[in-house]
Symmetry: C2
Subunit: 475 residues, 2 copies
């Protein structure tokens, strides 16, 4: 049995590890186009910030670790063709030499590539000019080279998603003046606006210049500098006065798209957006070919099939693909889009879906905002947790929870309780039945999530049982 | 409709609040024997430590808050008799005057009283001598008076449960040299020994003298000081050399027992231990009488009926009693014994059951220890979380999780994810399906709980599918 995984990041490596774990006799190979197997891509901002001085430390496991686990690595080896009938992958190595690798089972885990938005100038400017996309360790090395060679005083980050904000913090930590440009009205567009605005305030409080509702139109050069031109959208929906920003570094982080040219050429069915279609067992339509990670269409527990590239999901899908490639029957139980990001001293987390996702999916969503102290106010250091709870008015089912709080408020793990409750199909009201932990320095007798549930229930009560004045029983 | 609650702590106040919330027209009275309605008893150690200088701040709500919510308070009023047929409670007020209060629905929430262990001397020594039990605000004031008057340099805490350890920390914070005596072999006997030992190490590291397997035999006086005599048990089970400790303060915190003399006298059925029997709707066997909190027998999701006094449970039960007293049909879904305690810089948390509880309940338990970093090791500040995972070998069901980690490791909320998973009836292996949050500064792609689940699964694998060498797929 020879399992071949194409892709050296979360999906491919997880498949390989699981296969070796379940069958130490299995022959397992991972083929990857670069030299960085099993690197923690999510850790890149912390190398740039200086928190992780040596980039080698970003590896979940070293090459030696992987080989000691019995995994054969073909690094700097780019898969070119999959011959499904012959069970063979043709590739080229670093020297351009062609090689063929036979397999019994294949896991396609080619990941994603960054989106290059349709902005004038991005077609001709690149790392040598201080203009970077950021997705791989190779990209990271190029950013670090720009930091060393150009010693930028000012940087523009295009895109205020998770990576954009982490990079804004990282560059600020290096003493660089950062402007973040976001076309949408709020930062962290995967959170509701009021929570995004809290995060924007945190950025501003640390000196980051945040411009939302501002679309980049052009990136050009201005002598030795870069010039970024952008146009704000006014509150009325019109266009504001164009602005031009000078910088020595421009980072474009506006999302990713599946990297599936290879899969398509092999005849694997893909969605219009290019994601490989897999079943709940991570099997593709072609025999002995599985796929996992950022290159596939992901099953979402509340939305059905969707494209939702996340490292945690890639780990799970890869593990399942590796297990099933060896004859297992493990099913991927689905994502909830759980995400968390640290932005300076705040943490923003979410799980499940929001109104704008829930309504098209057939739910009757209602989102209720609430705030609660992370622990009893009498104990020193209590801070406010901001919660938005989304439930289905038709069934009462919990659909989603979003939270913003300080690092110490543990919103990253509070949201996990919500994720588990959604996974279990609980109603919002049933959150009150959960036996959650309490001690005054770390919580309240009714947890933040339960206080939020009580507020949701009070605000959504039907007119026949009107909600009283602000008399919740939350402590 | 007049709802009367007897008891001014979590159970009684929660019932009153819920009744007023659901029906602002309801007439609601809380009768309590002392002057401290709605105080956070769990916060007492933080007043003693000095973290909460003003004891008034320990109130979840002030007397004015409660009255503004439409709750009538009868403080310093001790209920003496319940006449169930007449729907009347007879009481005496602070001046010894008798009063009668009619009710339509009654909630008995008389709580618990501290156990006075059979130790020579405890029958004759009391607060005036520097010997204290600790359960109420009244007890707290007496402890504070002893601290002011005797200015103790040394204290002995008898009992290494949650309150004992919190008080050991509090007294240490005041500069007092503290010895903790525990008859059982480990501190925090509600955790498995290896985790209790970690907490004992934390105590010792902060200068607390911890003596486990040591039974107190006598508390006496030695001039102006107190003398505590105790006998260690040797590893072989024999008795070691008796020891005598001098101190100016002795705190006896060895658990509580239900305070149900009143309930018994009214004909309410109680268990041999004295806990009031209630159904899942918090109704007693007598008409229009509900009961909640530390005075009742509690439904445990895995163990059935058990005595398990906890503030969180009292809040839930009181809320349900208040709802059902007004005609509701809410069911108490059961406790999981979830508990957490902060001891200096460590946090110990548990939910569900351990081997010694599970086996008698008909499970085939197996507990597996594991450790994991609270977040990616490459990001600064990672610390180790110690986990013990208990599952049922027959069904794979998750039965319990215990964790010890630093405050920053958020074990208090990680254990909530486990509690929610147990509540939902998940197997240990199904923890791997949960979509939990991840960002390198705060977690790992496989959460600590999932790493623990993978270790449990690997160690309990049947011989037909042998566990491999240490090749887990946890990052």
């Amino acid at each position: 049995m020879h399992l071949l995984a194409i892709g050296g990041s979360d999906g491919g490596i997880s498949a390989a590890l699981r296969a070796r774990e379940l069958d130490p006799a299995a022959d397992v190979t991972v083929m990857l186009a670069d030299a960085y197997p099993n690197f923690s891509i999510c850790g890149i901002p912390y190398h740039v910030s200086g928190d992780v001085p040596d980039w080698h430390d970003l590896a979940h496991r070293s090459r030696d670790d992987l080989q000691a686990l019995g995994i054969r690595l073909l690094t700097d080896t780019t898969a070119r063709r999959i011959d499904v009938a012959a069970h063979q992958v043709t590739a080229t190595d670093a020297g351009g030499r062609e090689l063929a690798v036979d397999y019994d089972r294949l896991v396609v885990a080619t990941g994603a590539v960054p989106v290059r938005p349709p902005v004038a100038g991005l077609d001709r400017l690149g790392p040598a000019d201080g203009v970077h996309l950021l997705h791989t360790m190779g990209d990271t090395h190029q950013v670090m080279a720009t930091l060393a060679s150009r010693r930028p005083e000012r940087a523009v980050v295009v895109g205020a998603g998770y990576i954009g904000l982490e990079m804004a913090e990282a560059l600020t930590a290096r003493g660089i003046a950062v402007t973040v440009l976001e076309a949408l009205p709020h930062v962290l567009p995967t959170l509701d606006g009021p929570l995004g605005d809290l995060v924007a305030g945190e950025l501003a409080g640390h000196g980051v210049d945040v411009r939302t509702a501002t679309s980049v139109t052009e990136v050009g050069t201005d002598g030795s500098r870069l010039a970024v031109r952008a146009t704000p959208t006014t509150a009325g929906g019109g266009l504001g006065a164009p602005l031009e920003l000078q910088a020595e570094l421009v980072l474009v982080v506006t999302g990713v798209t599946p990297d599936t040219a290879l899969a398509r050429s092999a005849g694997l069915p893909v969605t219009p957006e290019g994601a490989v279609r897999v079943d709940r067992h991570m099997a593709t339509d072609l025999p002995d070919v599985y796929a996992a990670g950022d290159c596939v269409l992901t099953h979402h527990q509340l939305l059905g099939e969707t494209y939702l590239p996340l490292g945690t999901t890639a780990h799970k899908q890869g593990r399942i693909a590796g297990e099933n490639a060896l004859g297992g029957q493990r099913r991927f139980e689905g994502s909830l889009g759980t995400q968390v990001v640290k932005v300076f001293d705040l943490v923003a987390a979410r799980t499940g879906i929001r109104d704008d996702q829930a309504a098209p999916a057939g739910f009757e969503p209602r989102t209720v905002a609430s705030v609660a102290d992370d622990h009893k106010a009498y104990y020193p250091g209590a801070t406010t947790v901001h919660v938005r709870t989304t439930g289905d008015l038709a069934t009462g089912r919990l659909l989603g929870v979003q939270m913003v709080g300080t690092i110490a408020s543990a919103v990253h793990k509070r949201v996990d309780t919500a994720a588990t409750a959604i996974h279990a199909g609980l109603t919002v009201d049933q959150l009150n039945d959960l036996d959650l932990s309490y001690t005054p320095p770390l919580g309240s007798p009714w947890d933040v999530l339960q206080a939020a549930a009580q507020r949701w229930t009070a605000e959504t009560r039907t007119p026949s049982a009107p909600a009283p004045a602000a008399t919740t029983t939350t402590d």
